[in-house]
Symmetry: C2
Subunit: 522 residues, 2 copies
Amino acid sequence: MSLEASAADMAIQENLEQFLVVLSVSLSVATISRIFSWFRQIPYTLLLVIVGLGLAFIDVRLVNLSPELILEIFLPPLLFEAAWNIRWRELKENWIPVVLFAIVGVIISVVGIALALSQLTDLALPIALLVGASLSATDPVSVVALFRELGASKKLTVLMEGESLFNDGVAVVAFLLLVGIPLGTEVFSVTDTVLSFGKFVGIGIGLGCLVGFGISYLTQRFDLPLVEQSLTLVSAYGTYLITEELGGSGVISVVTVGIILGNFGSRIGMNPRTRLLVSEFWEFLAFFVNSIVFLLIGDQIEFDSLSDNLDIIGIAIIAVLATRFIGIYGLANFSNVFTKVDISLPEQTVLWWGGLRGSVSIALALSVPVSLSGRQDIIDTVFGVVLFTLLIQGLSTQWVLKNLNLVGDQPLRQEYSELLARKMALGRVIDYFQTLDESPSIDSEFYRYEKELVTGQLKSIEEKIADFQQKYPQLESIAMQQLKDTLLDIEADTYAELIRNGKLGKNLSPIMLEILTESSEH
Amino acid sequence: MSLEASAADMAIQENLEQFLVVLSVSLSVATISRIFSWFRQIPYTLLLVIVGLGLAFIDVRLVNLSPELILEIFLPPLLFEAAWNIRWRELKENWIPVVLFAIVGVIISVVGIALALSQLTDLALPIALLVGASLSATDPVSVVALFRELGASKKLTVLMEGESLFNDGVAVVAFLLLVGIPLGTEVFSVTDTVLSFGKFVGIGIGLGCLVGFGISYLTQRFDLPLVEQSLTLVSAYGTYLITEELGGSGVISVVTVGIILGNFGSRIGMNPRTRLLVSEFWEFLAFFVNSIVFLLIGDQIEFDSLSDNLDIIGIAIIAVLATRFIGIYGLANFSNVFTKVDISLPEQTVLWWGGLRGSVSIALALSVPVSLSGRQDIIDTVFGVVLFTLLIQGLSTQWVLKNLNLVGDQPLRQEYSELLARKMALGRVIDYFQTLDESPSIDSEFYRYEKELVTGQLKSIEEKIADFQQKYPQLESIAMQQLKDTLLDIEADTYAELIRNGKLGKNLSPIMLEILTESSEH
């Protein structure tokens, strides 16, 4: 036992050192990219891939990215964070296209890619199916970040992120069902496959609901921010491991837990302050993990091996683009006809072109058993396609968004929100002066002068706001909502902060509570 | 390479599962202890030790706590967090007693315990010296938490925490210098020892300063909260590993980095929002690590082995208490004579009795080479003493504090602060009503009624505050300062939050900035 643990510790220590190196490189990239403004056009994650490629090119290999590392250590927090942040209401509005993309889209993608590769290259069909399954999970990190930055519509973000959350699970399950075939341990049968699929997904959703609602009701019984924060972490990893242990889909269960805790548990069980704390913690964790993953994706590339397979990769890229073209345009128009959601042609185009492949694809390719003879072909093809989608599609998505006029009126909104925020802050400064007035030990002359200055500033800002409201009446409702949200957050945070510091008891003014609940329902 | 990595991954996965179990147990303890109020009297960490002991008693062993795990994985974040939060100003005011306790106190402790054990038991002097060094690092987690909860003076907290931060380093260095002697690889020589000690400490402080100030000036050049947060994590682990690699004291370098970043870097390089984020992140990490460590301390106990060594443990306990008695009373009175700091007799008593031993002692004992014949004696003695200090001293410290009248007027202050906070929050509610007035789509009758209710409440609270101020004039200044701090924090947070969300540009109103800077100097 002692020896065993010591080996594990050495592994931990070695890993710790390696990851510190990786993180240092990633953070340098993050820092340098902000200092030289030219780099800011490139999403952070894509910049990491490029730097990783550079390191791979000079044969500096940082950490060996194994499927276990991706699937068990990196994926649960990434999926949990995305699921935690997705709004149930928005997902519900768009659930039909999301489910169509995530299930039918994956089937189209697996079958299409497999057929293309088996017909046009000398890959055997079972191997081609594995490539297809690996390449059917989309990775929206960089694209969604772009959407947010450029102020694309919420619908677009939800479609992209929702699809990706669920198609990860479907692709992993499809891969697991297909991986037995080339090994000869399994014969393909539609009934068995549907049954297995149902079992994987059913156990995943079932356990996810159990843990999600269990923790939601549990956290309602106490108010311990640090414990609740820890519980989200334990639930993300724990649910994944337990579900996998029981033969279900860990990916699907983590997504389920994340959606439940983010939309339900965090509202009924956490005070607003805790919710904010937990969100910030997961935002950090996701940043942290992404900083590692994308650098390592680039750093894993074997240029020699890739260049040997350029023909297969080329065909795979075309197949990936073609199947996604069919999937997105076909399913989006199908959903346009049968649901209230309207996905316009430009939106379809962005969804098509922005469907990047990332860490899940790589994890699946790497998890092909070493005993399988086509393993290296699978890995090379998947790496090649991932690289193409990240670099070529990823770097041009911004251009596509802009040329399709899908960029929102973000700059205008921002200017207006800035004015509102200034007004709010200056109002607070004046409040602050009033608290100073009450305390005797202050040079009143100086403060009166300062106060007048601020009051003057406030007036000129109020004039500008009125001006803005006249010119752009459409802004008012949006910004007013934003301001209300902010005010409510601050109000709630104030209470929670004071409670946390032990400066205030836990029984809030009931009127306050009432207002909070009411306004959040507006 | 692939095989190697795969072994490491399996170790990671196994460790992940084990730690999830440990965390689940710890979180259950945290939760249950809050639901049944009787448990709330016992500090969380001590409760974990007791539960761990219970698990060890029924022979459920969760994870093998190895010295590498404690020293390389658990200790850096704990030290960094404590150092990050210690206020330089307060430390500076009390630096003479802190340094005396941390250096002279450790020497008294090592020598005293070693002499007692070598004279009164059959332990050889070199072995007894290692026990002495292991037992010279104090662990203030539970005691400092008690201090805060009961409102003990800041001086007491700083003395306890400062001593512990530095004596960890000194004890580790002393241990490393002494561990060569019984192995015969080193002969004791005062000159060599002093030189080695200087080298260890010098490299530690030097590298700590380099990294600390380096990162401080680096973060001043950009405003990227997630990167800055990651940098603190990388710097904690990275500095530790690099310093150890270069033959310095990792413990001392982490403490140095933590103090610099917490007091200097976070002020010049981080916006207030980021500082808060980072503090909250480290608070969580420390909670997380402590939840693991204290449970495992209890869970490591081998009852059979301990009971065989009860005589040595008994003598060691008396020696630990006696040397700390001499150290604290002697050095405190020495410092009282030569400095402005006045440590009263009751305060000395709490410092003496509250000097618990924890994870560092255990890590040092476990790190004794397996080849040394007295290893099990050292481990048993140290575990026995740690258990005594945690359970007997730890659980009675609250009683000691109360009986020595060192508990502050916390309840009174809290009631008053609560009133002030309510006033502030209700004021905000009224502000909020005003923003609602401007929006047309609201049932004005209903809101007018609600507004009057709130206004009425506000008035009655203001009356209570006036009443309080008359009765307890000493409260006013404290609470006013608290309120000001809170207001400033909120003000700064508002700006930072809005900037972070991209709702506001980065150029703050200069008057606002001025006010912020000025008031923080009051």
